[in-house]
């Protein structure tokens, strides 16, 4: 093979692999990304039930109910709207009323959010950024509230 042919093989191969990668990325970006919504978004956007999404805000004080089999129910609030969340399992250490939380799952037709993952923050001084933004949007955030 001449230098030119070899270069062609190399470039052809690279372009091929790159094209496959781009195709994979595009397909998966369409199917596997999850959008973040605040409780206000959920109330106002009329989101289709069954879509996977993340919601975030504060766990509304007084809303946490525990029942058997590790089932819990709580409300996520951004101060203006609430979303009721159902979850079965063990919640993170820093999950508690009045604290920031992000839940991933889907919205049921009855308006209740069934979460399969509940994330709380890792540090009691630090608030998940999504939650901060959601609270800022609803006007309930005071600068310097948490450091």
């Amino acid at each position: 093979m001449t230098r030119k042919q070899r270069r062609l093989v190399l470039i052809g191969g690279s372009v091929g692999v790159l094209a496959i990668a781009v195709a994979l990325v595009l397909v998966s970006l369409k199917d596997s990304i999850v959008f973040f919504n605040s409780p206000t978004d959920v109330a106002e956007k009329h989101l289709a039930p069954g879509t996977r999404m993340r919601i975030g805000g504060l766990v509304k004080p007084g809303s946490l109910e525990r029942s058997d089999n590790l089932r819990i129910r709580f409300a996520v609030t951004d101060g203006n709207h609430d979303v009721t969340v159902r979850y079965q399992g063990i919640v993170p250490d820093l999950f508690r009323e009045g604290q920031g939380v992000v839940a991933e799952g889907k919205l049921e037709p009855d308006g209740i959010f069934t979460a399969d993952t509940v994330l709380a923050k890792h540090d009691e001084r630090y608030m998940p950024r999504e939650v901060v933004d959601a609270l800022k949007k609803s006007g309930r955030w005071q600068e310097g509230e948490t450091k």
Partner: protein, 659 residues
């Protein structure tokens, strides 16, 4: 007094670094040996001053000097000594100080051990290294000074985040930084080569040991971070495709590609421009990783309370070095001479294949990590890209790479024999087939991925050993002859085989855990029991205990298998009073390389306690594989050819074909 000394030492290091950034380059321009040699002394002195500065901060931490704001924020007088020590870098400012300490360490190492480098190249490398150092000293002094005092010293500190109060903090960050920052040497070498406009096989031989050392540290650093997350966070996962994890994976992928392309450059004088580009990219990705983690744009356990000015500063550093590096590359690289020729089926071809897939895989991780940030900046829409995305993009690109891995070392340079290599891999194919069949028989046909995953892992592992077996004559020759041949084999051949074998081990662990891990979440009352995967755990009861700076609620379990007691497991919930924060301490029972994993949830009013129990088959292989990869790197590093400071080999050895 001590914090002020530390602050002062850091300013002196900055001053030295500014000198080192310019004087050696002027020296190289005028061919002035004295000016060039100045870099050696400044590099060593810089390291000395940064080390002093770091020691000063450590002293403040160890003696719990709460008049220092940083110590007050992140330490507590009741913490065990080891955590007082490690909390030095368990915060933003201190971890940046660790960053520059390692940067200075690498600079000093080049100055001390780079005796055989051409004078101008060494001067340029140390100067470029100092540009990086200067920008990070400025970053620390202007935006993240760890030595600031409080007007009035509080009596007690605010404590270190309990999640970080773990031996993992002593191991994971220093190793990871050794890797991240180690790639700065490859970057400096690349920029120096571009400035000089000259690059040859010798360049690759000088760069490779540094890259290899950084790569080894990064490999184990990532693995230790993963193991730490696994046992500390309490959900039993070892990889979350979290942006912060990806930030460390990207430099690893680029660095792995760089290691392999540097071999081609060293042996065959080909792929020169590509290798340069990879050297620039590997460090650029390290900088991006630092930016992502340190600027506070991401939410993670690595994010400490952040300040927007820092993000902008790191972004500026990022733009300067990545932009500058790539611009210089675009301008100067076309002037470099092209390298040798090779057929597509050859050792070079295999290494190009490796590079192609590694860099493409790296690109998909890059897209998946940065796309949410870009989308939010452009549209304000918030999304998260998680495991499903990476499973669909990263995994399909890694499968061909792993399939090709055993072939690479069996192909000859210039023109390889693919059917010949396939024939020599018969044993590996056989092992893979047996594994696939056995797995199908054992588990039934409900998953296709698992048997093929196991098959691929065995193919990689046995395939890695084929080359060694053939070259040592094992199973063919008498044992004494084998021993002689084994001793005569270059260490780099051992290194390759061991590192590839390690990759196979990691894959085997990942496949087994993904396919056969089992999990149970239950609420138990005392004397009730739960069984999983043949193990039976009895809940004996809860006990309160006091630690040095926490109280813990310990659940006591007795583990039995077939009626025989194997031992006890004691998962706990710790409450740290100073931060009113609690952590879950999972309990692990290791059986061979598999583990039982038990973590505690909330206790309920009826006296029951929630527990999460996992059985993780062969899970330890995930990290042991990484350790084996590092050992492979170490073997390769000890190869005479690469030894730092080894005498220059005769010119003819460069032309030698495959070893």
């Amino acid at each position: 007094m001590i914090p002020e000394l530390g602050h002062y030492a850091l300013v002196l290091a900055l001053a030295l670094s500014v000198v080192q950034a310019f004087v050696p380059m002027i020296g190289a321009f005028y061919r002035d040996g004295a000016l060039m040699r100045l870099a050696n002394s400044t590099a060593l002195m810089q390291f000395l001053f940064v080390a002093l500065s770091f020691a000063a901060l450590t002293t403040s931490y160890v003696t719990s000097d709460f008049s220092v704001a940083n110590v007050y924020e992140n330490s507590h007088s009741m913490m065990p000594l080891i955590y007082k020590f490690t909390s030095t870098w368990g915060n933003h400012e201190g971890s940046m100080l660790l960053w520059v300490l390692i940067l200075a360490l690498f600079g000093a190492a080049v100055a001390a051990f780079g005796g055989n480098l051409p004078a101008t190249l060494k001067a340029h490398v140390l100067a470029v290294q100092s540009w990086i150092a200067t920008s990070f000293y400025l970053f620390i002094l202007l935006t993240s000074n760890p030595f600031l005092r409080l007007p009035q010293a509080p009596f007690e500190g605010r404590d270190l985040n309990p999640i970080l109060q773990d031996i993992g903090l002593a191991i994971h960050p220093p190793l990871l930084y050794l890797g991240y920052v180690g790639f700065s040497i490859a970057f400096s070498f690349a920029i120096a080569a571009l400035i000089e406009g000259r690059i040859d096989a010798a360049w690759a031989r000088w760069v490779r040991p540094w890259t290899l050392a950084a790569w080894m540290a990064l490999t184990v650093g990532i693995a230790m971070g993963s193991y730490w997350a696994y046992y500390e966070l309490g959900w039993g996962g070892y990889w979350f495709w979290d942006p912060v994890e990806n930030a460390s994976l990207m430099p690893w992928l680029a660095g792995t590609a760089l290691l392999h392309s540097a071999v081609v450059m060293e042996k065959r004088n080909a792929l020169k421009i590509w290798t340069l580009l990879l050297a620039i990219l590997a460090f650029s990705l390290s900088l991006i990783g630092t930016f992502l983690v340190r600027s506070g744009v991401l939410t993670s356990v690595h994010t400490f309370a952040s300040d927007p000015s820092r993000g902008v500063f790191i972004l500026a550093i990022l733009v300067f070095f990545i932009g500058g590096g790539l611009t210089l590359f675009a301008w100067r690289a076309p002037l470099l001479k092209q390298g040798g020729l090779f057929a597509p089926i050859s050792r070079e071809g295999a290494l190009v294949f490796n590079n192609l897939f590694l860099t493409t895989a790296c690109l998909t991780v890059f897209v998946g990590t940065l796309y949410p940030l870009a989308l939010e900046a452009l549209t304000g829409e918030k999304i998260s890209v998680g495991a499903p995305f990476f499973n669909l993009t990263f995994a399909p690109l890694f499968v061909p790479l792993l399939c090709a891995m055993p072939f690479g070392p069996l192909l000859a340079w210039k023109r390889g024999d693919l059917p010949g290599a396939a024939q020599r891999l018969m044993a590996a194919f056989g092992a893979a087939l047996v594994a696939v069949a056995a797995t199908f028989m054992a588990q039934g046909a409900h998953s296709v991925l698992a048997p093929f995953g196991i098959g691929l892992a065995l193919f990689v592992m046995v395939g890695a050993l084929v080359d060694l077996v053939e070259r040592t004559g094992l199973f063919r020759l008498p044992l004494t002859a084998v021993r002689g041949r084994a001793a005569g084999l270059p260490r780099s051949a051992w290194g390759t085989a061991v590192a590839h074998f390690g990759m196979g081990l990691t894959l085997l662990g990942i496949v087994c855990v993904s396919a056969w891990a089992s999990e149970k979440i239950v609420a138990l009352k005392p004397s009730q029991h739960v069984s999983l995967a043949g193990y039976d755990l009895t809940f004996d009861g809860l006990v309160q205990r006091n630690g040095p700076n926490f109280r813990e609620l310990v659940a006591h379990f007795t583990v039995r298998r077939g009626g025989v007691a194997l031992g006890e497991m004691e998962p706990a919930k710790r409450t740290f009073t100073s931060r009113s924060m609690s952590t879950t301490e999972a309990s692990l029972m290791t059986r061979g390389v598999s583990q039982l994993y038990l973590s505690l949830g909330d206790s309920n009013d009826d006296g029951s306690v929630a527990v999460r129990l996992y059985y993780k088959p062969l899970v330890l292989l995930v990290w042991l594989g990484a350790v084996v990869m590092m050992l492979g790197g170490a073997l390769s590093l000890s190869d005479r050819r690469l030894r730092v400071g080894a005498p220059k080999p005769a010119a003819k050895s460069v032309l030698q074909p495959a070893e």
